[in-house]
């Protein structure tokens, strides 16, 4: 039977305040610590919204904004939420400026053909990434935040500056679109009779 999955909870790190203060003073070690603490989450988010080609450029821009903006960070939101918001805004702005140039086209999806063999699709990750690239940037953002990073709808809404209900409906539509795009692969998974891919209980780091 298809059952709900467990979700990680977001946690806030009490050491953030000290780290922020040290970064505001321009302490190199603190800045590096903050960078390493968030680099995978920021880069993963940016990478999946803007694509591999522009990910480094946009991630660099995000961290520059983070360090230059820490002086005005008032702590109304968790540090992680604030950093995610900068990353999402920078990524969506970049995609809007770029238009559809450079996005993965239908051809790429077709190249990632459905498997013939009746076993777990070894290229499922590629297929999922390619399908994500077909989505509107806003759908990509909510999928990354909620389903990949494991954030709650409240956190997603705070990051994307929308209502919780909007976050939920966007996620539902995005998943529906993914299901359409992955149709053949999902049918193959079902034909194999395997259960859904288990979600790991520690799949998200939560927000610090």
């Amino acid at each position: 039977m298809v059952r709900p999955r467990a979700r990680p909870t977001a946690a806030s790190g009490p050491e953030d305040a000290l780290l922020i203060e040290a970064c505001r003073r321009g302490e190199q070690r603190a800045m590096e610590t903050l960078y390493h603490q968030y680099k995978r989450r920021v880069f993963g988010l940016v990478h999946r919204i803007v694509g591999a080609a522009d990910a480094e450029e946009v991630a660099q821009d995000v961290f520059v904004r983070v360090f230059r903006g820490l002086g005005s960070f008032r702590g109304d939101a968790a540090l992680g939420t604030w950093i995610y918001r900068l990353a999402v805004n920078a990524s969506l702005s970049h995609v809007a400026r770029r238009g559809r140039r450079g996005e993965v086209g239908d051809d790429e999806l077709e190249r990632v053909a459905a498997p013939e063999e009746a076993r777990r699709d070894p290229r499922l990750s590629e297929r999922v990434e390619a399908a994500m690239a077909q989505l509107p940037a806003g759908y990509r953002a909510i999928l990354v935040l909620h389903d990949i990073e494991g954030l709650s709808h409240e956190e997603c809404a705070a990051i994307m500056d929308c209502r919780v209900g909007t976050s939920k409906s966007q996620l539902h539509k995005a998943r529906g679109r993914m299901r359409e795009l992955l149709g053949p692969a999902l049918a193959a998974e079902r034909a194999r009779g395997g259960g859904p891919v288990p979600a790991s209980d520690d799949g998200g780091e939560g927000l610090a």
């Binding site: 039977m1 298809v2 059952r3 709900p4 999955r5 467990a6 979700r7 590096e32 960078y35 680099k39 995978r40 920021v42 880069f43 993963g44 990478h47 999946r48 990910a55 480094e56 991630a59 660099q60 821009d61 961290f63 520059v64 360090f67 230059r68 499922l124 990750s125 999922v128 990434e129 999928l143 389903d147 990949i148 494991g150 709808h153 939920k168 996620l171 539902h172 998943r175 529906g176 993914m178 299901r179 992955l182 999902l186 998974e189 079902r190 259960g195 859904p196 891919v197 288990p198 979600a199 790991s200 799949g203 998200g204």
Partner: protein
């Protein structure tokens, strides 16, 4: 529960966001409906596949790129004047001066209305109208309660002709007097505002000039024309609000240019 109800709630069901009763109902429907069960499995596969995606590893050179970006931004900061770096502080410095000016302008308008009303009432006979304006002195003199020293001027500075009957009609001086105070206070406030704005504009103009130097000639000309027009209005307009709007527009344009923004009206 129908198929459409289940489909609409699939995401919430799989994320464990439904109540126990709704979850039970969805689960019961899925046991009986092959199509919905297939849909639910697909959704669960999508969610599971997304959660299982390998993390995107940032390139090792990213931190060095961030450091270069910070260094470049700080180098640009070093070229700017303190005015251009403190946009919020600039407006915090200017804002206190804007409110009293607006209040004075409103008070001036009120006083003019009162005075005009008074004149209109006195003109025919001088008796019936006087009885209509007992509140006028209080209303008019209440607003300019904090005129600058020396603003309680002699009748010689009246902008309107002195009333020949001023000695015989006690209420008249108290009605006209507020207008004198307001005019003088307004002029003083305007001069003070102009000084503040001029200082801000002078500093911002220095920073903006550095940015302007890198523009094409047509853009420089368009920028110069825009600044000249705003400056003319700010310095010469009689209307207080028009002057303020022009000063604010001037500061805004210069500030945006000084911050490196490509101001639309001059960057066509």
């Amino acid at each position: 529960m129908k198929c459409a109800d289940v489909e609409a709630r699939l995401s919430a069901y799989l994320d464990a966001e439904l109540s126990a009763e709704l979850s039970s109902a969805v689960r019961g429907h899925l046991r009986a409906c092959d199509a919905c069960r297939a849909l639910a499995e697909d959704h669960a596969h999508v969610i599971g596949a997304l959660a299982s995606l390998p993390p995107a590893e940032p390139p090792p050179a990213l931190w060095a790129a961030v450091e270069r970006g910070l260094a470049a931004a700080e180098t640009v900061d070093a070229r700017r004047s303190p005015w251009s770096l403190g946009g919020a502080r600039l407006w915090a410095r200017l804002r206190p001066h804007l409110v009293p000016a607006a209040a004075l302008a409103a008070a001036a308008g009120l006083a003019v209305v009162v005075i005009e009303s008074r004149r209109g009432g006195d003109a025919p006979s001088g008796s019936g109208g006087a009885g209509q304006t007992p509140q006028a002195p209080g209303v008019a003199s209440g607003e300019p309660g904090e005129p600058s020293p020396g603003s309680a001027t002699a009748p010689g500075s009246l902008s309107s002709p002195p009333d020949p009957d001023v000695g015989a009609s006690p209420p008249a001086p108290s009605i006209v007097q507020p207008k004198v105070d307001i005019d003088v206070a307004l002029a003083a406030e305007r001069a003070r505002l102009d000084d503040v704005y001029r200082a801000a504009v002078a500093e911002l103009a220095e920073a903006a000039a550095e940015e302007r130097a890198g523009w094409r000639v047509p853009e420089q000309r368009a920028f110069d024309a825009r600044i000249a027009a705003l400056t003319r209005t700010a310095e010469l307009a009689d209307d207080v609000e028009a002057r303020e709007r022009a000063w604010q527009a001037l500061v805004s344009v210069l500030q945006r240019v000084a911050l490196g923004e490509r101001v639309a009206e001059v960057r066509r």
